[in-house]
């Protein structure tokens, strides 16, 4: 059995102007959404409190809201989570003015406990499922750390690919990664899905996955440059993409299979993670075909760059190419 039985080389690169425009459009849209709507940051990043409670019967949200009001948490958001019996309550961090007393500080940490006892008073079938409290300073730090993690990962990968292949490929694959990350984050921004720590982990996993794809393609391009003596760079890239297409599709398909399993049976907490990765896999597959190769081509990759040089000095061959 074979997904695609291609006897002819598909002329992928002929579409590269259209796809470049498409990619740029998506990136601009993502950045625009990020700039205007921002991200729906999760508790991990904003700080605040979160309480998940489950009741034996369907929960009466208005009643829960009323209890919140009575206890001085009028700003709390109350919503169902997963099923009608589960309720998720979120409370923004209480900001303290300078010089407030220590007593108040302890209070803000006790929010979870206070609310839990108020809810059990309202309905004694209420059981605590999870309480989270994140101090505002910790939240900010996590956000910084997350961004730093992403940048470091990209930089290390850039160095590895540059050493292993060639700088044009490195730039191509890292641009593809940046492309995937921006668009995935853009999707979360546009749809207003909560962005928490596990989603960040997923976005970082997208980097790993998309890279995997890109490397396989680049590897084949390099091999073909060395093997096929005649032919234009564009043609060789097309041949390579056609040869690896089957593998790209099969792997994306199996990965998508397990992610769908996670999305549907993995539970409520892992949904954001699965969504981010699933989308990332799709966009990653696309970018490994179009973004990475197009950029390498646009940067003027040629057969000479791929030949194993006798002088094993990095950059020696590049100097000769400089006009």
């Amino acid at each position: 059995m074979q997904l695609l039985n291609l006897s002819e080389t598909v002329n992928f690169m002929s579409l590269r102007r259209i796809t470049s425009a498409f990619s740029i459009l998506l990136i601009v849209a993502s950045i625009a959404s990020f700039a205007t709507k921002g991200l729906n940051w999760g508790l991990d990043f904003t700080g605040g409190s979160l309480i998940e409670v489950s009741f034996e019967q369907s929960a009466d949200l208005t009643k829960v809201r009323q209890v919140m009001d009575e206890n001085g948490f009028g700003d709390a958001t109350v919503q169902n989570f997963g099923s009608s019996r589960d309720v998720l309550i979120r409370i923004a961090p209480r900001l303290h003015a300078e010089g407030e007393s220590v007593g108040e500080k302890i209070d803000s940490k006790m929010i979870g406990d206070t609310i839990m006892s108020a809810l059990t008073a309202m309905d004694d079938t209420a059981t605590m499922r999870r309480i989270e409290f994140v101090g505002p300073s910790v939240g900010g730090e996590l956000r910084e750390q997350g961004g730093l993690a992403m940048l470091t990962a990209l930089l290390c990968i850039l160095i590895y690919v540059a050493l292993r292949f060639e700088w044009r490929f490195a730039l191509g694959s890292v641009s593809a990664l940046g492309h995937d990350v921006i668009i995935t984050v853009g999707l979360f921004s546009a749809l207003g899905i909560e962005f928490d720590l596990t989603v960040l982990a997923a976005v970082l996993a997208v980097i790993g996955y998309s890279l995997n794809d890109t490397i396989v393609v680049s590897d084949r391009i390099r091999e073909n440059f060395r093997k096929i003596r005649q032919g234009e760079a564009e043609e060789i890239i097309n041949i390579s993409l056609t040869q690896t297409l089957n593998r790209t599709m099969v792997t994306s398909f199996t990965t998508a299979l397990v992610l769908l399993a996670l999305l549907f049976v993995g539970g409520e907490l892992i949904k954001g993670f699965a969504t981010a990765l699933l989308f990332g896999v799709v966009i990653g597959t696309y970018s490994s075909i179009y973004v990475a190769s197009s950029i390498a081509l646009a940067l003027g990759i040629s057969k000479e760059d791929m030949m194993p040089t006798e002088v094993e000095k990095e950059g020696a061959d590049q100097d000769q190419l400089m006009p």
Binding site: R129, F133, G135, V216, L259, G266, I270
Partner: protein
């Protein structure tokens, strides 16, 4: 080799099949020792309450009783707790039911994260500014005393506005150099410079980088010791108290639900009081209720009841440090340092009391089950005499307590002295509580997702690559076993929900290596190579691609692990392990099977 590696992987993942026994764990606090006698009491109580148990054992200073039924756990806890009293903590636990022959290999089941087993996670931050302030105050007092002793007159010694140094204002300019030389000599870890901004003879004394680091570390370590002590009293099985970064402490309490109580106990305050033993009293009469008006009856674990003076001679906030060590004869001792004020008081107290016994009382306010109308627990005062020692000479700022029975007693005493000393305040900056029902649900959901994803991939590979797909499936199954085996083997690794997601993702991506190889073989076959050659070329040419692809993903996983915290770390560790094991099973493992099946034969067609 493949068989050997798989056997080891299988061996270490095997304990996960056995599940856990409900158990009761008894451990001692404040030096109370758990011994065979206690074990006998526990067993006798269980028999009395007609609670059936599988096994009782005494190991590593604690008793573990495995029960037959989970319902008996609470009943057993009550029965044992009532009979043992204060010095022991009885906790509910789940003990892995790993058989002895597996334990002999050091194999044990996977440790589950809090999101899977339920419990509380606290992140606490030590107030470093306060800790540094205390250090500077101490420096001020030291300088004042020292300079007075050296007869160097000063106008004022105080912390600077920026809070980074102590300004020493000397009265006579010609004594500036003397003061400077003196401080530099006595405190080599301080930096002394002349303040060039003022015309006055001023010195600025600050700490070296090394000293600042030490002070910070001390503040964190001291808090960790105290928190550990308190956590032990909470009666939690397998708690975790660990430093995180520069000034934070992670506390994880599996199975704890009542976070309010946990927070109160962690935040309890302790103090110490030094008192003289009351000399004229009669213990016998006092125990019958006739306590002299100036004395109070105390209980001490070591000496039994003692009568102490009511007057408090010195309080614990003067203690700067307490360390257990050995004297020149190799006997255990505890050396104590006080601040200047404390030193003076100690000196005054001991001057007229040489030859008399002095006692240290440890006082702790702990929340009780009783709550007042605001829902705040009423605090109860616990007092305990932790040491009675005879004063041998007039004491000053530094002195030692000797005559201790064992080094563990010395260690405990030092610990309690430090716990009663003034410490840098801490704050909870993050808290996560997961209820037990959610934990179990997370396990179930995670397990289902792994199984469903795994099943779908197996099915697809079988249909798509036929016999070779079967080979890949065997490798995939082996991979799953090995991930679990490796995770169980690494001592610090815990399985969390994102970790399960990592495993699921690995299952999806692990087939990639096989897909690469198989697609290559198909291509070679299309180029009219013989099946044997195709297999050979397929594996060889796919190898470098697979290596490159996996190494880069591995880099990403390592960075995630290094920078990320909490859930991200859990995900990164399974991803990294998965990449390593999948490389092995997908390349070496499948090749071995393929060679065994098709190798050395003349074949016309491959089932691929």
């Amino acid at each position: 080799m493949v068989v050997l590696v798989l056997l080891i992987g299988g061996l270490y993942s095997a304990p996960n099949l056995y599940g856990e026994d409900p158990a009761i764990q008894v451990s001692g606090v404040r030096g109370a020792e758990v011994n065979a006698l206690v074990l006998d009491t526990v067993v006798a109580k269980l028999d009395e309450a007609k609670i059936e148990y599988k096994k009782s054992e005494l190991a590593e200073g604690r008793i573990l009783v495995r029960l037959k039924r989970e319902d008996d756990q609470l009943k057993a806890k009550e029965a044992i707790g009532d009979s043992l009293g204060d010095g022991f903590v009885v906790a509910l636990n789940l003990a892995p039911a790993t058989p002895g022959w597996l334990q002999a290999f050091g194999a044990g089941p996977l440790k589950l994260g809090l999101d899977l087993r339920g419990g509380v996670h606290f992140l606490m931050e030590v107030d470093m500014k306060e800790a540094m302030n205390k250090k500077f105050t101490e420096m001020e007092e030291d300088f004042k005393a020292d300079l007075r002793e050296e007869k160097i007159y000063y106008r004022r010694i105080a912390q600077t506005g920026s809070g980074e140094a102590v300004r020493v204002q000397i009265r006579k300019a010609e004594e500036l150099d003397d003061a400077r030389r003196f401080i530099e000599k006595k405190y080599p870890d301080l930096v002394v410079i002349e303040d060039s901004k003022t015309s006055e003879p001023d010195l600025l004394v600050s700490m070296t980088e090394q000293k600042i680091k030490e002070t910070r570390n001390y503040a964190v370590d001291q808090n960790i010791t105290i928190i550990r002590n308190r956590v032990n009293e909470l009666g939690v099985a397998e708690p975790l108290v660990q430093r995180q970064g520069q000034e934070r402490i992670v506390v994880q309490l599996p199975g704890v639900q009542d976070t309010a109580r946990a927070k109160e106990i962690l935040g309890a305050t302790a103090t110490l009081e030094f008192k003289m033993v009351y000399q004229d009293g009669d213990i016998g009469a006092a125990m019958n209720g006739r306590v002299p008006p100036k004395a109070k009856l105390y209980d001490s674990k070591k000496q039994g009841p003692v009568l102490l003076e009511k007057k408090v001679r010195l309080t614990g906030d003067h203690i700067v440090d307490a360390q257990s060590s050995f004297d020149q004869y190799g006997m255990p001792q505890v050396s104590i340092s006080l601040d200047t004020k404390g030193g003076n008081k100690m000196s005054a107290m001991t001057k007229d009391n040489i030859g008399n016994p002095m006692a240290v009382v440890f006082i702790e306010y702990k929340p009780t089950e009783v709550k007042d109308k605001n829902g705040v627990s009423i605090l109860k005062k616990y007092e305990e005499v932790i040491s009675v020692a005879t004063i041998q000479a007039r004491l000053g700022r530094n002195f030692v307590i000797t005559g201790l029975d064992s080094s563990s007693e010395a260690h405990n005493l030092a610990l309690m002295l430090r716990a009663g000393a003034l410490i840098a305040p801490i704050q909870i900056v993050e808290e996560r509580t997961v209820g037990p029902s959610l934990g179990q649900e997370n396990i179930d959901a995670g397990f289902n997702a792994v199984m469903l994803g795994f099943g779908l991939v197996l099915l697809f590979m079988l249909v798509y690559y036929k016999k070779f797909g079967l080979v890949a499936n065997v490798a995939l199954a082996a991979n799953l076993v090995m991930i679990i085996g490796v995770m169980s083997m690494i001592p610090g690794a815990t399985l969390t929900l994102p970790g399960i997601a990592g495993i699921v993702l690995t299952v999806g991506m692990a087939v990639d290596a096989n897909v690469l190889i198989f697609e290559r073989i198909r291509e070679e076959l299309k180029d009219n190579r013989s099946p044997q050659q195709a297999i050979h070329h397929g594996y060889d040419s796919a190898f470098s691609t697979i290596a490159d692809a996996n190494i880069t993903t591995f880099i990403a996983a390592v960075i995630l692990f290094a920078i990320g915290t909490g859930p991200i770390k859990g995900f990164a560790i399974t991803l990294a392990i998965g990449i390593a094991t999948s490389m092995f099973t997908a390349i070496v493992g499948t090749r071995a099977i393929v060679n065994a099946t098709w190798g050395g034969k003349r074949i016309e067609k491959l089932s691929i």
